[in-house]
Amino acid sequence: GDQVKQSPSALSLQEGTNSALRCNFSIATTTVQWFLQNPRGSLMNLFYLVPGTKENGRLKSTFNSKESYSTLHIRDAQLEDSGTYFCAADGGSGNKLIFGTGTLLSVKP
């Protein structure tokens, strides 16, 4: 079954609005990574998290290990934020990533 579940699977946002993506884990994980995959397929690192919160510009991410979830908040969405967002759990070992199914985000003018 899906060890890392992402929601929603797809999302359409108006430019300038805010939204949140979520990742639920059914496996133990000590760290979480968030990536943005652009339409050409390249992966950009967004966050590497231990339990807690990090912020970078218009993005903020939280990893709650006790309740087994992570969120990615996007503030003031821009056209270039479009792409597929993946979260990934380290499975507790740190030596491999288990990816979620992704959230396809489309930001419209």
């Binding site: 990574q33 491999k96 990816f99 992704g102």
Partner: protein, 115 residues
């Protein structure tokens, strides 16, 4: 951020042939990984590699797959022989690999098409 390079970006081969995918990881990283992504799906872990050895592999890492990194050169994934179901994008990743950071950085991928 740190850059991982992959060569080639695309490869088209006939079923049954051998293919080698090359990865140039971040220079001071110690752990190396291969992942497979079929179009429209999530990335799936294949194998990790540390200190010249495979540490862990998934059930997707078939007997026809092998990895090596001879003398600090490219980290390679070899498939011999290839099958139709091997068509996918293969991503290489690397990480520093200590408890300070297991953050993985990914290359741009090699799109493999097996005909």
């Amino acid at each position: 951020g740190p850059k991982v390079l992959q060569i080639p970006s695309h490869q088209i081969i006939d079923m049954g042939q051998m293919v080698t995918l090359n990865c140039d990881p971040v220079s001071n990283h110690l752990y190396f990984y291969w992942y497979k992504q079929i179009l429209g799906q999530q990335m799936e872990f294949l194998v990790n590699f540390y200190n010249g050895k495979v540490m862990e592999k998934s059930k997707l890492f078939k007997d026809q797959f092998s990895v090596e990194r001879p003398d600090g050169s490219y980290f390679t994934l070899k498939i011999q022989p290839t099958a139709l179901e091997d068509s996918a994008v293969y991503f290489c990743a690397s990480s520093l690999g200590n408890w300070a950071s297991y953050e993985q950085y990914f290359g741009p991928g090699t799109r493999l098409t097996v005909l």
